[in-house]
Amino acid sequence: MSDSRIPPIPAIPDAPPLNHRDAIVAEIPRLRRYARALTGNGDLADDLVQDTLERALGKWRLWQQSRELRPWLFSIMHNLHVDGRRREHRVDFRDTDDLPLPAQRANQQDSLELRDLDRALALLPPDQREVLLLVGLEELSYAEVARALNIPQGTVMSRLSRARIRFKAVLAGEAAPLLKVVSP
């Protein structure tokens, strides 16, 4: 009889990992790529990845119950990123003398195209940016995106449609400045 307290080995389609740590570590490059595109800044991206990994390793027992690791990790990152955005809207009470300089979105090593894309992505509403990147860059299926963002698949499709229209306009230099929309 196997010990019922030991959780079952998760089903990972390609190359079953030895344990949850190795499986999570194997996803770090993907998480970094997505975070880099999402935040437009390497340091912010790695902060987000680090927070995601800490939470994932702390909650890995929850992952064992669900089946696919990647959408689960992206969903953790999504939640942390939303929390972080909420924090950004809070008032910073520090004296303006002490405030850090605004983070550079690109450094000199970055290619022109990277800078253009960073700028264009920054002009997308965050929920559209997430869907565009999870589909176009991370190549998640629509169902996986829906799971990662905890939204219906129909919403994924409508956000994807709007994101692609807006992204095209922004890249062509046609987009009007993004108005802040108060979410319901």
Partner: protein
């Protein structure tokens, strides 16, 4: 394709999400609809651009801080264990010391004593360059009226011009007894003093003029029937004594 083509199908085609059977039909349909073909190509170009820009991140060496320790869950458990151990130690020490109650005038009373609280407030606001006070001395009448209202009794900002200190202004703080007023003064050499005024439980006679030194801050303090006063500064004990007396006399009347 027998069913009408929706925009979702176009996205699915662009993203390679159609199965083989759907694909052949879809491509036949698309050949007859060049405007949709262009749209699909545009979307594919977007995804390709994203890959060109961000795929390099996949090849970067991982920063060390992102690599979890080899035995991550145990490491987390150890940290939790350490927290529990500290709490247990605290409980044990507390239990061992249960009968050794502090005298009424002991540590706890000292922690929120008038000179300690005044020195802390002094240390917090004196280094402030941009916002040392909430209301400036240019609105002194308003400042005094406001703080008097909040402290529930008439108050005044003592004049220290004769000692070379000008009123900068004041602010409202919170203390253990409720509202606290803080006035700030500054000399030509940019040395600063603060006067801390808080409500005290009504007493027939106040206490006499006293001195305390808290973290490099000299504090002269006293109480009258309504308020506790504490003048804090770092200009040396002798200076502070004469300044303290000056303030004391102005409130003594």
């Amino acid at each position: 394709m027998s069913t009408p083509i929706s925009e979702d199908d176009l996205h699915a085609y662009a993203d390679g999400r159609l199965d083989a059977a759907q694909l052949t039909q879809f491509e036949t349909w698309l050949a007859a609809h060049p405007e949709h073909r262009a749209q699909v190509e545009e979307w594919r170009a977007q995804s390709a651009a994203l890959h060109r820009a961000y795929d390099r991140v996949l090849d970067e060496p991982l920063p060390a801080r992102l690599l979890p320790p080899a035995n991550a869950p145990r490491w987390i458990d150890l940290r939790r264990l350490a927290t529990v151990a500290w709490i247990a130690l605290g409980v044990l020490i507390g239990f061992a010391l249960r009968d050794q109650t502090l005298p009424a005038s002991g540590k706890a009373a000292q922690a929120n004593s008038l000179p300690r609280q005044a020195a802390i407030a002094h240390a917090v606001f004196v280094p402030e360059v941009r916002h040392p006070v909430e209301v400036g001395a240019d609105q002194e009448a308003h400042l005094v009226a406001w703080l008097s209202k909040r402290l529930g009794a008439p108050l005044k900002a003592p004049q220290l011009d004769s000692a070379g200190y000008k009123l900068v202004g004041g602010r409202l703080l919170t203390g253990d007894t409720g509202e606290v007023a803080q006035f700030m003064y500054e000399s030509a050499e940019k040395k600063r003093l603060t006067l801390y005024v808080r409500r005290e439980a009504p007493k027939a006679a106040g206490t006499a003029f006293r001195y305390a030194r808290e973290n490099e801050v000299d504090v002269f303090y006293w109480t009258d029937s309504r308020f506790g006063y504490a003048l804090s500064g770092s200009t040396g004990r002798e200076d502070m004594l004469s300044l303290g007396s000056l303030v004391y006399k102005q409130f003594g009347s």
